[in-house]
Amino acid sequence: MRSPFGVVLALATALALSFLLLPILAIFVDIPPGQLVDGMNDPAAIDALLVTLKTTLIANAVILLVGTPAAYLIGSHSFRAKPFLVTAVELPLVLPPAVAGIGLLAAFGRFGLLGETLDVLGISIPFTQLAVVFAVMFVAGPFYLRAAISAFESVDPTLTGAARTLGAGPARTFARVALPLASGGLGAGWALCFARGLGEFGATIMFAGSLQGVTQTLSLAVYEQFDVDFDVALAIGAELVVISAFLLLAVKLVPKWTRSTSPSTTPFAPFGSR
């Protein structure tokens, strides 16, 4: 395999991997591990971690619980308005984060479309943790939704049809056939969604502001800590990397999800497995 093409492939791979890994490794190498740990114990870092964990968990839970059935409905049917519907779902993806923040304010802010209704109900969303959750859902949700729609679209309708003829109602067909078969695509889409949510900054600072212990997520904290204590900023950056790596890997290793025969959804399948 010493063909020139083989060499080009190897070279390209080496370049890509080193380029992507270098900045990440540099974070851990830049300061001694002792200082890194001290940085992580800084109150600002701990507060940011707690805020992030809480808001990310809630946001992602809602995205999965609401987004999955919605994606199933859209993905398993074809109708004339479908391209427009899917585009609408994808729109938040093309918004610059700051514009997304302005949009959220325009909808849920004090003078927003729902502002007065919320006010009457005694609910005020901007500057709260709920606002952080909203920002994450708005900005990251479409990643999951789009991938999920695509994943459900690629489930062979013959299989879901077969399930129905075997006595499974629509709910059981979804749970026992469609969901497992789409799970690879769902997992991959969610990983992207989660990563985007974790790195979310622009919409959050616009809609929720940044207050330590309340709305300051890890991303916002890094930004602030740049001028206050650079070591803490590095520590938070390292935390972000570790959390992301852990979750992205977990999604790939959870056994049940990887057991489908579709090549595109099995992460470790060799190329010629079919």
């Binding site: 077969a162 075997l166 006595g167 109602g169 629509p170 497992p180 489908s260 025969t261 079919r274």
Partner: protein
């Protein structure tokens, strides 16, 4: 005894599907070229397709009645549908696939279909024949009242097909369920079904026992479908009460059938004899032609001579020392030929 009553009227891409049939505890095969609407019939019965108009009822229970506004979802119809590509769930092993339809009879079915040893295997690891058995077992696990088979043999290679066909015929005889089977191969239909319906362009052209269709094809489609040679020509009264058919390709043939105008002269391959020279036998129709191809099928050989396909024993073919490109005479009797109207 529950009979399946079926009436369907539904527009498909280039024609209208319009069929009606009644099935008792028998196997009815729908045969036709691909795209004739056969699979749509099965899907409509199973509830996966809602026809524009129609009625599907098992005994007194209506599953579909467009006039009465009844349309039961598939899970409420007692059907077992075996798909053309089997549609086995790739993420479940064989046992779980079979159990999907019903947990009670899994072991029994695995035994009966001789796939117990494959219980933990995944569909991707099975051969075509094994997959078919799993699909059948799965469909039957639900204890369905009606069995629907979509091209059950077409996904198999030639050798497996023969074996599976025999097994399937046995199974169907044993089950005695109203079974609707769809195929594009007349021989498979003849082997598996009690009655055969030829469906073309969304309509059933003829429905009856396989032997009936062979003996008296209703029209050109049915004739060519059942495997007959079909020669186009114009019929006119001939000598001695026979009908003379002036072939489009030239020459004349004779048949005892009556016919006028544009007809198709149908003769089955196994009724065509071959010889090196024209002999003074009782056969009235002789065609001299070049041997264009020889295809061996076990103990028979299909020989293409000019416009005709003849089927003779391998022994005879050897005796005649047939080779491609050689001249032979193909002959058949006027009593062996049928005339069908050309549309």
């Amino acid at each position: 005894m529950d009979t399946l009553d079926l009436t369907l009227d539904h527009p498909l891409r280039s024609f209208r599907l319009s069929v009606a049939a009644t099935l008792g505890r028998e196997t009815l095969a729908l045969v036709g070229p691909s795209g004739a609407g056969k699979s749509s019939v099965l899907r409509a019965i199973a509830g996966l397709l809602r026809p524009e108009r129609g009625r599907v009822a098992l005994g007194a229970e209506a599953w579909l009645d467009t006039e009465a506004g009844i349309d039961l979802p598939p899970e409420r119809r007692s059907v077992g549908l075996v798909f053309q590509e089997y549609a086995l769930f790739p993420h479940l092993d064989v046992r779980r696939n079979v159990a999907f339809g019903g947990r009670g009879r899994v072991d029994e079915l695995l035994e009966r279909f001789r796939i117990s040893h494959l219980a933990q295997a995944r569909p991707a690891d099975l051969s075509g024949g094994e997959r078919q058995r799993v699909a059948l077992a799965r469909a039957l696990a639900r204890d369905p009242a009606v069995l629907l088979l979509d091209e059950p043999l077409s996904a198999l290679d030639a050798h497996t097909r023969a074996v599976v066909r025999a097994e399937l015929a046995e199974l169907l005889a044993e089950l005695r369920l109203p079974t609707l089977l769809v195929t594009h191969d007349f021989e498979d239909a003849a082997a598996l079904a009690d009655r055969v319906g030829v469906i073309v362009g969304g309509r059933i052209l003829q429905l009856g026992a396989a032997a009936e269709l062979l003996a008296a094809p209703a029209d050109a489609f049915v004739a060519s479908f059942t495997g007959a040679n079909l020669l186009h020509g114009t019929a006119r009264p001939g000598p001695e009460g026979l009908t003379e058919v002036v072939l489009d390709a030239g020459g004349s043939m004779y048949s005892v059938d009556e016919g006028h105008g544009r007809v198709g002269l149908a003769v089955f391959p196994w009724e065509v004899a071959l010889a090196r020279a024209e002999s003074a036998d009782s056969a009235v129709n002789h065609v001299r032609g070049e041997v264009r191809s020889l295809v061996e099928l076990g103990n028979r050989v299909r020989v293409r001579v000019g416009p005709l396909t003849a089927e003779i024993t391998t022994a005879s073919a050897e005796r005649l020392a047939l080779r491609e490109g050689e001249d032979v005479v193909a002959s058949f009797k006027a009593t062996a030929s049928r005339l069908v109207p050309l549309g």
